[in-house]
């Protein structure tokens, strides 16, 4: 069965959340393919490895903020300097459980972030945003 959108990338150091969110996306049939990354580095490696392979790049990235070593904001700093095929194709939203005012403000102020989703992820919310941006 074909889903509405092609590829989503989930970046989260928390394995449980990766599992939950990929399951939610699978059940709600929003994407055909889910790329799971347990760190920002892993995601960046994947993106630069598939720089020229349009059919491997994600359309949408769901990024966690608090991760060890490279956090979500550091990931975005490097991400925005990637070649334009990637930065134009991949739309980034943050998915975090944070209630910290500083984090929320910082996420909202980042021009590369279209939306801050709070965990737990509701498929309906995600669907609305996807309909608007993809």
């Amino acid at each position: 069965m074909l889903s509405k959108y092609k590829r989503v990338m989930l970046i989260d150091d928390n394995e449980v959340d990766l599992k939950i969110n990929s399951k939610i996306i699978t059940i709600s049939k929003l994407f055909d393919e889910i790329i799971l990354c347990q760190s920002g580095e892993e995601a960046l490696n994947y993106l630069s490895r598939n720089l020229r392979e349009e059919d491997k790049l994600p359309d949408f990235i769901l990024l966690d903020i608090q991760m060890p070593e490279m956090d979500g904001f550091e990931f975005l700093e490097i991400f925005k300097r990637l070649p334009s095929p990637i930065t134009e194709k991949c739309i980034v939203a943050i998915l975090s459980s944070t209630l910290d005012f500083g984090d929320i403000k910082k996420a909202e102020a980042n021009p590369h972030v279209i939306r801050l989703f709070k965990k737990p992820l509701f498929p309906k919310e995600l669907e609305e945003v996807l309909a608007k941006y993809l």
Binding site: V16, D17, Q66, T98, D100, P123
Partner: protein, 359 residues
């Protein structure tokens, strides 16, 4: 001599005075003497003294000049200036620039000098104690900030994962597969999450300094309604906002206040009511904003009206945390707002708030 020996440095170019001082006080204090400012400085480099006495009239560097010179390098010891009656100018200078604690006229009276040294030591000690206390408080404060940050993330993250699992169970149609267990897990998780959120709100309200920005009430109210009516779609909202001019206020606290009141209005409805209503009226004026939030919910008992703003007050019938309205009141106190409430079981509850416009 006991452990709290007071170390005193006395600088005077007249050696006789130094001898006399030692003779009078060597039993009470640990005494260091110097014949000039330069010599005094050398002693300061090696010994940490608590009280410095300096004679004003010395060749090369005067007492006041010496105190001025060490103001930044040795700010802690308390300073006493020894001077003749006539040195008014030196005195003014000493007080204005030398940061002296006391001046004593020569020839000194032993008892007076002794008392002055004792008092000077007390002043030194309170200064150091205060500084240690401040450092200690800063550390505690810092730890508390980190603790709150970890509550907002570390503690909440696994809870939110559990809530995500419950959602998955619903999506897979398994919610009723184990009797009411999943529902109970959901209730407990939501409750814990609610407490974490209220704790953070309370803490932030206490700590955060008021920051005034432009507030767009139309956007704020529609965001809050969207956020809190998620669970209850058959609620009807009548929103009436008149904002013809800019409003400046503490956006964080106003959001906390309206958020708590709107979520209460949604939460405490009558189960039997078919026509659930929440009316929100906001009118922005040049000096203040008037807000009224009314619901046709279960109402608040008369004898409870006075207690609803107290911390941990809960009524028996509804299961609140006893924090929501307390936080509302605390937040209003911080931004000089006022709140009034009226309620009965027929017309429901109305909260009226005014918040100053600080533009």
């Amino acid at each position: 001599m006991n452990a709290t020996t007071i170390r005193v440095l006395y600088i005077d170019d007249e050696e006789n005075n130094l001898h006399a001082f030692k003779a009078s006080f060597r039993r009470q204090y640990e005494i260091y003497t110097a014949l000039s400012a330069d010599e005094g400085l050398k002693i300061l480099e090696n010994v940490s003294v608590q009280v410095i006495i300096a004679d004003q009239k010395m060749p090369n560097t005067t007492g006041v000049e010496f105190f001025k010179n060490i103001k930044h390098t040795y700010p802690d010891p308390t300073r006493i200036l020894l001077t003749g009656y006539t040195d008014i100018e030196a005195l003014a200078d000493a007080i204005n620039h030398g940061d002296i604690y006391r001046y004593i006229t020569k020839p000194w009276n032993d008892l007076e000098l002794h008392n002055s040294i004792k008092n000077a030591y007390d002043a030194y000690k309170s200064k150091i104690d205060l500084r240690n206390k401040v450092a200690e408080l800063e550390k505690t404060n810092d730890e508390l900030n980190r603790f709150i940050y970890s509550i907002s993330h570390e503690l909440r993250a696994p809870l939110v994962s559990a809530m995500g699992i419950v959602n998955l169970v619903k999506m897979e149609g398994l919610f009723h597969s184990s009797g009411e267990y999943w529902g109970l897990i959901e209730t407990c998780s939501n409750r814990l999450d609610y407490y974490i959120q209220k704790t953070l709100q309370y803490y932030k309200n206490n700590k955060t300094i008021s920051e005034n920005t432009a507030v767009d009430f139309k956007k704020l109210v529609s965001d809050l309604i969207e956020l809190y009516s998620y669970t209850d779609k058959d609620m009807h909202f009548n929103v009436n906002i008149t904002q013809n001019e800019p409003f400046f206020g503490d956006a964080f606290r106003i959001e906390v206040i309206l958020g708590n009141l709107i979520s209460n209005a949604i939460k405490y409805q009558k189960e039997t009511e078919l026509n659930k209503n929440v009316n929100i009226t906001i009118e922005v004026q040049p000096t203040q904003v008037n807000i009224a939030i009314n619901d046709n919910g279960m109402g608040i008992l008369n004898e409870h009206l006075e207690k609803i703003f107290l911390q941990f007050f809960k009524s028996k019938i509804n299961h609140g945390s006893g924090l929501g309205l307390f936080i509302v009141k605390e937040a209003l106190n911080k931004i000089n707002g006022k709140i009034a409430v009226s309620s009965n079981s027929i017309e429901g509850t109305t909260f009226k708030i005014t918040i100053p416009n600080v533009k």
